[in-house]
Each structure stands twice: as structure tokens, then as C-alpha cells.
């Protein structure tokens, strides 16, 4: 059962990821990204991290990719591009090298850390019929007590990003049109 779920989710993630880099139409690529994100959400569910799965769908699929689509549509770049044309000549070999490198690092990390890896879902409060919110309570305790400082700093970081974007995007005419 778990193997079937894993294989299906992995197929979704990989298929979506391949779609993102091979589709020539940006909108299709963005939709492939949604497929990948859904696959990851399924993985989260099968690891007993239900809240993360819900947040994954709400935030990434529901807000961030929608934003991508907005930008694609509003900027009018939603035409199929010829991906054989190379604007920066070294980028493809470079990307291949970096990709293989990152993959190597991850595999090395897994092999080296084999003995410290814990069993799936270990230490997580499992959700049962009697205690449906156990998992979410545990997550909330962790975020709002042990890691509250990092959490608040992250929210400040996001706020700074928003304010900065508005500041940079705002066009101010010094001899205003209103005069």
C-alpha cells in the first residue's frame, strides 16, 4: 500500500518536474509545477504530516503558482518559445554540472547519514480517531514555543520583502501629473 502510494507520488513529482523543464509554453510549465507540488503533498500525507500537506496545497499550489500564472499572463510571455535558441551559451553545460553536483551531494549525505536516519514518522504524534488534532498540536507547540524566535524573524523577513518590492516598483514623478 505504502509502496504504491510512494511510486504514484514519485511519478507525479518526476513527471511534473520534467514537464517544467521540457514544455516550451510557460503556462504548461507552470501547470507541470502544480503537478509536482501535488505529488509532494501526497508524500507529506503518506509520512503522516497532514498539516504540511494542506499548507503545501494552499500556499504553493493555491497562491504561489497562481502568482506565477498572473505574471506570465500580464507580461504577455505566454507564447511558446523555441527552446533551441540559446541566449547565454554556457548556461546549459553549467546547469548540467550543477545538477549532477547537487544530486551527488544529496546522495552522499544520505549514504553518510545512514545510521542517524530515523524511521518514517518517528516522534510524530499520530492522528487517531480519539485524538484527531495531535499532530497539529505538536507542530504548533514546536513553532510557537521552541522556535518562536525563528518564526517571528521569518515573518519580519517576508514583510521586509513586501515593503521593499512596493518601494522599488513605485514610480514617482517628481513634477507630478496632478499639478
Amino acid at each position: 500500500m505504502e509502496l504504491v502510494v510512494f511510486v504514484l507520488a514519485a511519478a507525479m513529482v518526476l513527471g511534473g518536474a520534467l514537464g517544467v523543464i521540457t514544455r516550451s509554453n510557460p503556462v504548461h510549465a507552470a501547470l507541470s509545477l502544480v503537478l509536482t507540488l501535488f505529488g509532494i503533498a501526497v508524500m507529506f500525507v503518506s509520512h503522516n504530516a497532514h498539516f504540511l500537506a494542506a499548507v503545501q496545497v494552499i500556499v504553493y499550489a493555491g497562491a504561489i503558482v497562481v502568482l506565477f500564472l498572473f505574471v506570465i499572463m500580464l507580461l504577455g510571455v505566454d507564447k511558446a518559445e523555441d527552446i533551441n535558441i540559446e541566449p547565454i551559451t554556457v548556461q546549459r553545460p553549467l546547469a548540467a554540472v550543477i545538477g549532477v553536483g547537487i544530486m551527488g551531494i544529496i546522495i552522499a549525505a544520505i549514504v553518510v547519514a545512514d545510521d542517524v536516519l530515523v524511521e518514517r514518522g518517528a516522534g510524530l504524534a499520530s492522528t487517531t480517531v480519539d485524538n484527531p488534532d495531535g499532530n497539529i498540536r505538536q507542530l504548533a507547540r514546536s513553532i510557537f514555543s521552541d522556535n518562536v524566535f525563528a518564526f517571528e524573524l521569518t515573518s519580519v523577513l517576508l514583510l521586509v520583502a513586501v515593503v521593499g518590492t512596493i518601494l522599488m516598483a513605485r514610480r514617482v514623478k517628481s513634477n507630478g501629473a496632478g499639478k
Binding site: 499548507v55 494552499i58 493555491g62 484527531p132 488534532d133
Partner: protein
Amino acid sequence: MSSLIALDPLLDGGLLWTPLFIVLLKVLIVFVVGLVATMLMVWFERKVIAGMQNRVGPNKAGPWGLLQTLADGTKLFFKEDLLPERSDRLVFRLAPYLALVPAFLAFAIIPLGGDFRDGKGGLVTLFGHETRLQLADPPVGVLFALAISSIAVYGIMLAGWSSGSKYPLLGSVRASAQMVSYEAALGLSLGAVLLVSGTLSTAGIVNMQSTLGNWNFVATGFVPFFIFLIAATAELNRPPFDLVEAEQELVGGFNTEYSSIRFALFFLAEFMNTITMSALIVTLFFGGPQPISIGNTTLDIPLLPNALEGTVWLLLKVLVFLYIYVWFRATLPRFRYDQLMDLGWRILIPASLGWFMLLAAQRVGREAGWDQVVVTIVSALVLIIGYALLQAAHAVSRRNREKDGASF
């Protein structure tokens, strides 16, 4: 296995034939009920609006025109299925399903009945298995509904874009901006309900609302309900927030290029969403299948088992909200686009956030044993100062904009 899919005691233990059969039966019932309810809702809306406008409404097909929707649907099936030349074929075909599937999925987490009295928690016994009268009770509960409603944006957005024409694109862009904006207010007012109930599961939320005073409508202090109702109306793209279809301005909105059965799917999704959202409002704020009870007296429907009685109560409560939606449509003029955005961002989001803080402060005060009156006064003062700061910021930014002649 059980925690993977749902928190139903039915699914505890291995994969057996009877539970599988019960789940399949539930799927079938939810699907059929959804379709039939949608059909009746279209008829209901047309009939009620006709009544409000002194017309007769549909009256030819079947008794009282009940089969009018069926006739329209059949007609749409046989119409020519056009695919615009400049459309993106794949996405154009995909979009109606992206609108329809979330509409049905969200219905799965609504408790459709069950006996919530005397601490039974909505469990009923079917074929010797304890279960809930709802298709799924996922551990993330109502967050599932939020996730689904954020997916529903794709259907509309992609439909407009893939049509390859400018009016549908305009319609879909403003629709998705509207839906994304109001989702924030929707989520924040939902937060108030979760704070009071202390659980995410829909069955758990219903279980907490045993008497009239415990209904979240009262327990959260009325404001979150009104914010939720307004935000839900905007999320559904129903009047007075139907800028998506503003037929006088946009020809027909995102679905201009759609015809035949694909158009019917959008139509179905829209009405299905209205029903689902009404059921969600009832579940969150009005006790779902709980009977009306004040103190120890419960309004009981005689001769009916308690579990079925829950279904009757749910149906009655949902009908009230469906009527309210039709009523909105018949009486309220459409919002202008800037008014819509102002209402969402400047009023609903700060108001729901402020109310959420107020409820949280009260709860903290109660647990710490502080004086409730002092807590209320202090938090009200903080909210008033916050509101004043917000207004001051608006005034300053408006003055700056006018002085600079900035482009927005």
C-alpha cells in the same frame, strides 16, 4: 491506513469488504446528491428570482418547471462543441474539469447527518460498522476546504487564458484576483471558528455546537460569520460580487468562448460551489446537523431516528442560506472593481484579524485567570488604536500619492 485517508472508525483495521462497500456507497450518495441538488438549485434560483421580480419563471417542463434544468442540460449536450482556433487546446479542454472536480471534492468533508446528541459525536452504525455520515473526515479538516477552494481558481484562470481572446482573459484575471484576495479574509474568519472549537475536524466542530448558545455564530461573536458570508459570496463569484460574469461589461467573462457541455460543466461547478459553501457555513457557524436546542429543551422531530433527523436539520439550514444567496442576487447591485478590492483588503481583512486577536486575548485571559472586563477593555483599546493607525497610514499614503502624482 486509517490515518492516511480519514479519521473514520470505519477504516480502523485492515481492508475489508463491508467497509469498502460502505465507502463506495457514500461516494455514490455524495455524488448523486450533489448532482441532483445542483439541478434543483438552478430551478430554485430561477423560480425565486422570478417571484421577486413578479414573473412566473420556468413552468413548462415537468410539474412547476422542475425538470427545466434537465431539459437545458440535455440541450447543452447535443449542441456543437466549439474549439476556438486560437485557443490552447489542451488547457482549454482541461479547465472545465479543474472547476468541476474541486466543487465535488469540497462536499466530501461536510457532515451530512448523524446523531450528535448525548456525546455520541455523530457516529452511526451501518451494517455493523460504526461510521460517520460524511464521506471523509481528514485530519486537516476544514483546511481541506480551503485547499480545495484555492485550487478552484485554476479552472477560471486557465479557462480565460486558454480561450485565446481578450475578453475572457480580462474576465479571468479579475476573477482570480478577486478570489485570491478574499481567500485571506475567508481564512482569517475561519481562524476564529477554529480558535473557539479547538479542533480542525468538521465533525468535531459540529460536535462542539450542541446548544444554540454554543453555535459558533454566537460563540465567535457574530462578526466572523458576517465576514465569512461576504468573503464566501466573493469566493463563489456570486452577485453582488459577480464581476467575473459582469455581462454588460465583459460579454460573458471567462467562459465567453465555451459552449456545449464544457459550458455546462462550468455552470454546474458554480451552482455546486454555492451549495457546498452554504453547507460549509452551516457546518462552521450553525451546528450542521445539530437540532436547535436552547438549554435543555431540544426541538425534536418525532417519528424520525436521530441520525436522519440530523440530515433534515442540515437540509433546512442549508436551504436558508441558498435562499439568502438568491436574495442577494435579486436585490443587490454589483460592486465596482475598486470598491470590491477596498472592501476586501481595507475592511474585511483588518476586521477579521482584529476580531481574531480579540478572541485570542479573551481566551488567554480566561486561562490565566485575569479579569474578563479588564481584558475586554484593554483589547478593545488596542484595536481602536490599531484602527486609528491604519486610517492614519491610509490618509498619509493617499496624500503622498496625490502630491507625487504616482501612477497608482
